[in-house]
Amino acid sequence: MNDEIEKLSDNELFKLLSKKGTESEYAFLEIYRRYSGRIFAYCKRFLGNKEDAMDVFQDTFVNFYQSADKEREMTNLPAFLLRIARNLCLNLVRQNRKTTHLEDYMRFENNLDSAENDELLDMIKIAVQQLPEDYREAFILREYEGMSYQEIAEFLNISLPLVKIRIFRAKEKLRQILAPYISELSKF
């Protein structure tokens, strides 16, 4: 069963979901296997808080599964999942207007399982949280989701020049924040 499921396309998997049975559950598991990493990365870096990211991430897949039968055609499954995650993230941010305190952030990030011994990376993760929400999102979609500018424009439903501006502003802001630190690192 697993071997067969793995060979199916996103669209075929999605169609299996609406059948609501054993096949549906295996299809769901395969979709989870394929995209959970990307969705989690988006949630984690957008929210900057592991606990909130975990909640939103779980809700994303629960909502996805529950709404699967309502959708008829699926052209871009990861984008669909990302959209659910994005809406949930934005809802959470707007409800709480929660800012991530540095202490909380560092506490969540300090665990052995993470590959976060890169000091610069730690600084970047903190700096990303300082970016305005729309800049941050554009940066995450570009750097973590690997989307092209055009895909980001479609996903966010904004113009291509606006995407370019947001990404430029985000990266330039990060560079300015981190420049002294990078300069120090380059001395070693």
Partner: protein
Amino acid sequence: MDTEHISKKIIEFLDGELPQSEEQSLFFLLSESDELRNVLKEHLAISRSVRNDFSAFVPPSSAIFNIVKTLNLKTIGQTVPNKPSFFAKLGKTAVLMLSTSILTFLLTFLLIRPDGSINNKPIRAIVQTPPIIIAEHEKNISDNNSLTKQKKYNALNVTSNNHSLDQISETSFEDSEQKNQTNSNISPVEHITNNLNIANENDRIISPNNIKPTKLIFNSYIKSNSLLQDKSFVITLRGLTGKSFPNPDVATNDITSLSNLSLGFYFTQWDNIKFGIEFGRETFGLSYENIANGILFNYEQKPSILWGAVGIDYSIPVSIYNSFQPFVTFLAGGTQIGGPLVKGIAGIRFRPANSNFEAYLGAEGSLLFYQNQKIFYLTRKIGLTYGIAIIF
């Protein structure tokens, strides 16, 4: 062309979004300006670091359990292992600590315990009593018109080898009367005594000189030299310093004021043996491999790790200048990254006379086992430990 515009082009170039037609002009500008090349370097450094952010792509394993449970997916609910229980999550450490504790206690109870009795009081002395008659006495009493009473003293349990002083005091006496006996001989009596003055019914004193001891009572004392006699509870606070192997040349993260410290709670089980638990936070060097997205990475870290362990402490019963005493401690437990963790300490304690405080210094060796992607790794650490203890 202003710097901001060129910077924008640099970003587009790094993102693969710059049209090829514009690349040549960008390269030319870069070759002309140190400042622009620095901008490029800084953006490159940021992009490279972000690409190493693998941890962002690994959702916690409990997420799928929660999702399956929420959606009530029965089929894959059976194939996906159960949600980690308390013991599965914290439990490797907890189970290890508990089992070590039980094992240590049982081993100690069975092998070290002096007499096997349930008695928490320190044993101070053992008196050995002889197995047979220890004294004989003959005496003739002539008294024609009077009743003669013979008092027979029997010692109970004379055949046993070891008795405490308390047991000896339980010696009972049996009286038997012999009436109207004239010129009768008093038969030999068996008795055991530790005060050597025994009165008969007529208040005559049988002096000690009349007793011919056939065997001497042998008293042997096993005396403890522990500095901790009569103390039952000890709180220890000790500092830890040392070098771990491997010892990667990276900065230690998460240094707090509570790093490289340990707090212990011990109770004295017997004179020289204490049991307890200990918690600490300590820096260990780690080196392990991790495969992410099919790529093998070698990680080196030096985190400050929280640990907990059960401990047994043995104070060697040798007192030096009445204030110094050597000790050994064995600790076994787990850490926040798993475990097991074992520690051995050997050192010397200093406790001034009549003081409830003591200071100690020792050498410590640690073995930390940890796991990543189902592979176990070992970090060894040697160092010094120093601290104080309060004895209640």
